[in-house]
Symmetry: C2
């Protein structure tokens, strides 16, 4: 007899994953290595260690270990807010009148409001273990900055956050949450760094971008004693930590004999989607299953759907290593789209390579449609979603409506990465009809592409 | 062998309570009945039904049924966000170095951000069942208004919310959440009602109070066809619905063989505390156990610790029935304390009577001490608490520190009613050293007492 599936599936504490899953170990063609822009040679462990914590560098470069143990102290912290629920969206299914079965993994039940805490606590742990004084970082929507502030406060580390200016202005209360956790928050671009001053001079009045903020945070980290830079997305180490999302999801689904037909996640730098699909993609790479997987990005910042697969800088200031990824060019500054967490010109190398190999798809969606989906979801499922997460909701609803038309009973899984409690200015614009969509023209994109360096390998 | 207690105890969906607990049925001396101010006779079912939904009136007047079945549709909604976790505060215990064992029941994992949703969905259900077009209400901190908006949206009811002006101004984004759920929000006192206009004339520039907002909402309900008034606290029906908090808590504790020595909750109108203690108080009233119970209120609005036990109006505009309760006088307008949800001049009749009988204690605490406790809690437990809830945190920490001094291993349970994501202005004031405490003088209180009607019974 089939088990009745509850609204929310909570794993017990004992079922919490003890190891992260390293998706690269399952890939035949690995993602291309990070390059030193000066030499165009792969970045060495020593080179990376001037910027990042040593243990995190080892994780970054490890392409072969399939499972990496989660240290006990990190697992103890995870127990404060995990396991996260896997929710059967019964009410959404009913509202849509779809035969599809919709599930979402909800990562918003913690004060950082998103999945970002999964990697923040790991990175803070390794920084503390290395005896550092503190870390620097950038934040877009503010979710990563909040998560890192919480993690640093827990381990007694100093935390300096550069927050993309448009988000800083749209989300004044995010700053206060970070302050509650003792962090130091600066709007980016700022006058505190060489790269910030340079960007401000070139683009006065810029609302900033993740790329700019990364450059500033890196500059401060490498020029301050006892500091390293940490990053909330894009890097392989982050995907590794975020695999806990997918591992919990898979354990919960296996327990009830559920198999997703399609897995959907929003993609800015790729950390949430990379984490959600990890164990499913591992099975796909081993030829065991053939899940459909969809990355959803904003039409205003379409790195996968309209970008180039090329070596590019990870940041606007060009202080970071080169990564081979789908990119709009590190000089591309997206419009002040409200989904701050998705305003990144590139995409993690692992997802880029998987996408390039045709193992996953991508779709770009427009902002106003995303907020319509967000509101519909909030009203029936009782969770007010973050704009970023709502990109996944939009495509999940689209897929469920397709099932209604075809009569297919597909099982849809999507990642609900977080809550929108600090995004109410965006909701207000939406309610007041002041929200606009912006789709860059080919000419707009060409400007970004022109800045992609020519690399001869 | 004793079971290892996890960080979070989640009941399964099957363990969700199927009945609410009616604490009055266990009381020897019942709370005094509501009186009609015109006749000074107990309000009849017919009289109450002009203001409230019929089924809710029956619940309001039912002093004898110990358990009342929760309708299936309400239980289905509960499954969207319940059971709520019972958390063992291992990290807080460690930070305090206390031998006490601290537990909290966390009600903030839903978009309304608090326990208020437990009663909102019940009240919306009965309104819908009665065929009403909509409901009116007041909201202080905005949590009740948000909860009711969510509930009304779920059942397709119109929702008109009068929001205490100081909260409306301090929490602009609350309004947007309510709007996301389709509600209509007006700052109170307003020009929309006779009572609002009268209060504005008498007290120009007033920041409002729950008492004023109640009067306005009642006026609109009784003068609009197909509308009734619903209330988020104070009433017995609300305590009944909120008993789900205590019932879940007790089930979870019993499962692990945990028995609380002291139970602590913040008290504005008393709904959360009344709900949390319900099954424990039932045992105490039956002479089975002798739990210590503490109501925590703000020193700026000390109805239990400094109020009179007397018949008084539930609202400033004197349109509501008279209730026998601990009161500061319906004319008492508390200072613009940030814990909007605790700015009520009275206290639910049930808790008032239990307090009067010496079955529970009360403590008044000052705001800046409350925020210190809130920040300490947030940093170690990873949840940014609502100012209201933080009153309970403050006293729980005080009790745990006492245990440290005496070496007692007491088990402390408190209610963490909600999150503070919409209270960041208050946190900002606290961080900037701009927060002040206000304790009314005896003369201030006397002014309120002078307005308490003289009732000869």
């Amino acid at each position: 007899m089939k088990k009745q599936i509850p609204y929310k599936i909570y794993l017990s504490e004992k079922e919490l994953p003890k190891k992260w899953l390293n998706i690269r170990a399952f890939m035949g063609n690995k993602p291309a290595p990070l390059l030193n822009p000066a030499t165009q040679k792969p970045m060495t462990e020593a080179e990376l260690s001037t910027v990042f914590c040593s243990e995190l560098v080892r994780q970054e470069l490890d392409e072969t270990t399939p499972y990496i143990e989660i240290p006990q102290k990190i697992r103890d912290f995870y127990k404060m807010y995990r396991p996260a629920p896997l929710v059967r969206a019964y009410c959404l299914e009913k509202a849509l009148g779809t035969p599809a079965k919709i599930y979402y993994k909800f990562e918003g039940n913690n004060t950082s409001g998103s999945h970002k805490l999964n990697s923040a606590i790991a990175q803070a742990y390794y920084a503390k273990k290395q005896g550092l004084k503190g870390v620097t970082t950038e934040t877009g929507a503010g979710q990563w900055g909040t998560a890192l502030s919480m993690a640093c406060s827990y381990f007694g580390l100093d935390c300096k956050v550069f927050m993309v200016k448009c988000s800083y202005e749209q989300k004044p209360f995010r700053r206060e949450v970070m302050r509650t956790y003792g962090a130091n928050v600066t709007p980016s671009p700022s006058n505190l760094t060489n790269v910030g001053r340079k960007i401000l001079e070139e683009f006065p009045g810029t609302t900033g971008s993740l790329g700019c903020a990364i450059s500033e945070a890196v500059e401060v980290a490498v020029s301050s004693y006892g500091y390293r830079y940490v990053l909330g997305s894009v890097l392989n180490q982050v995907l590794l930590h975020q695999s806990i999302i997918g591992l919990e999801t898979k354990t919960a689904m296996d327990k009830y004999g559920i198999k997703p037909d399609v897995i959907i996640g929003c993609a800015g730098g790729g950390s949430n989607l990379g984490g959600l699909i990890a164990p499913f993609m591992a099975e796909k790479l081993q030829g065991k299953e053939n899940y459909q997987m969809i990355a959803v990005e904003p039409a205003s910042c379409p790195s996968l759907t309209r970008g180039k697969y090329a070596y590019d800088f990870c940041d606007t200031g060009k202080v970071c290593p080169l990564a081979k990824m789908y990119t709009l060019g590190s000089g591309f500054i997206p419009s002040a789209n409200h989904a701050g967490g998705l305003r990144y010109h590139g995409m993690t190398t692992t997802l880029s390579e998987l996408y390039h190999q045709g193992l996953m798809e991508a779709r770009a969606v427009e902002q106003t449609e995303v907020f319509k989906a967000a509101e519909q979801f909030a009203r029936v499922e009782g969770i007010l979603p973050a704009p970023e997460s709502s990109h996944a909701i939009k495509v999940a609803i689209d897929e469920a409506i397709k099932c209604k038309e075809t009569g297919e009973e597909r099982t849809i899984l999507f990642g609900l990465t977080g809550t929108g409690y600090f995004d109410m200015v965006a909701y207000e614009n939406f309610h007041d009809g002041k929200m606009t969509d912006y789709i860059p023209t080919d000419a707009d994109l060409q400007k970004g592409f022109d800045g992609i360096p020519k690399i001869n390998l």
